[in-house]
Amino acid sequence: MEDVIKSFAETMVLRSINFSLQPGEVAVLLGANGAGKSTLLRILSMLTQPDSGSIAVYGKNTAKNGPEARALTGSVLHSPMLYADMTIRENLILFAELYRLRNIDDLIEKNAVKVGIESRLDQRVRTLSHGFQKRTALARALMHDPQLLLLDEPESGLDSPSVLQLDNVIEEYRNSGRTILMTTHIIEHALEISDKAIAITDGYAHVESTTTRSDKSNVLSAFSRSFKKTSGDL
């Protein structure tokens, strides 16, 4: 991501965002409310156009090769974005077809087991709790085996066993050499499972390693100081 700028009306949310992630890395996006974390994830998901700057996903420029870059990306954003009057299976079939996947039935079963929704596949989304809807969104994001997984507060609405299941998915992804970028409101937990922290402050990205215990502790205290300052400014 190079020199990405994004503003809404008069407010400049992202001033100059520069960072890169390597295959097999898990990175956590940190920042106070309104810092631009979700905007950044939406830009990477290609739902929002940046004002300027360039983004490449595994070498595919998102502006020039949008469909190719989207094929490499899986996203779970704030809203589960599911058709409420369709069953989980029907939702997953639709998106499998849009991603032109083969062996759709097997893929659905495999990913449903991975996120723990296999017993609810034929239930309409409208009848599901927010947690199950979030898990379905995760299953959809995993269906095409993306190289880059974007997760916007994936643990929200999930119970403790489901959060553990999510950790397993993240670990499996890391071990298979794929990249994960996530936001979270459980910062301590996110730092435990991440390799890198990207803090968004005043529209700029500050990248810190979180591989060692002291790295994690430094990032946590720096983030707390910055958060207190931002909260004080509000």
Partner: protein
């Protein structure tokens, strides 16, 4: 080409599935259009003399206002769960999403016309169940869906969506509705095909222009 058709079919089939479950759009469009016809039938003393004069206008006004209701509903379902964004996450061109949504709207408005036209024929005692009307309906509904899908997507993010869509859309679609009314007038008054087709040329030009322009603009409209 085959892959594009498969994507359009997948999105279109999803819209059909949701419509068979909810029956929101076809019922809303048919009911609204029939209501307009009934109101005019009671308000004006329809007779053999004035039916041919005012009937075509009432028919297409009813379909236009009812069609707006259908367009609103079609995108309200996408707005409800942010599902248009889910479609945009897929590795497909935005044009295909536009074409699939446009075809869905075309089918639902056409289905409503299948209900409305025979009732109009009976109420106004006009012979509209003719092949010329099939051509007029087809060309009008294509243009109506093409521009309507774009405007419905535009108004999706606006707070007063139900108010904004007709305000933005109806002035733009007026030339198409004029062509529909004039050509229908020629049909019910026993006009010749050259008379009818003169107005249909306007509809064809409108359809081509707006399908191309709308498909191009749709991408800018749906992205932040």
């Amino acid at each position: 080409m085959k892959e594009s058709l498969a994507v359009i079919w997948a999105i279109g089939r999803k819209d059909l599935l949701l419509e068979t479950r909810n029956k929101d759009i076809i019922i809303a469009v048919s009911a609204f259009a029939l209501l307009v016809l009934m109101v005019f039938t009671f308000a004006i003393d329809i007779n053999q003399g004035n039916a041919k004069l005012i009937g075509p206008g009432i028919l297409w006004a009813g379909i236009a206002f009812a069609g707006v209701t259908g367009l609103n509903r079609a995108f309200a379902l996408e707005a409800e769960g942010n599902t248009l964004e889910a479609l945009m996450l897929a590795p497909i061109s935005r044009d295909l999403i536009y074409i699939a949504k446009m075809l869905g709207n075309f089918l639902f408005i056409t289905a409503a016309q299948v209900i409305v036209f025979p009732i109009f024929a009976v109420l106004f005692n006009l012979a509209v169940l003719r092949w010329e009307m099939l051509v007029i309906s087809l060309l009008t509904t294509i243009g109506f869906s093409a521009i309507g899908t774009l405007f419905a997507a535009m108004s999706m993010r606006v707070r007063a969506r139900e108010v904004m869509l007709p305000l933005l859309f109806l002035p733009v679609v007026t030339p198409l509705m004029m062509a529909a009314v004039e050509s229908t007038s020629h049909v019910v008054n026993g006009g010749s095909w050259p008379d009818i087709s003169r107005w249909l040329q306007l509809a064809v030009a409108f359809d081509i222009a707006f399908i191309v322009v709308s498909a191009f603009i749709f991408q800018q409209v749906v992205e932040d």
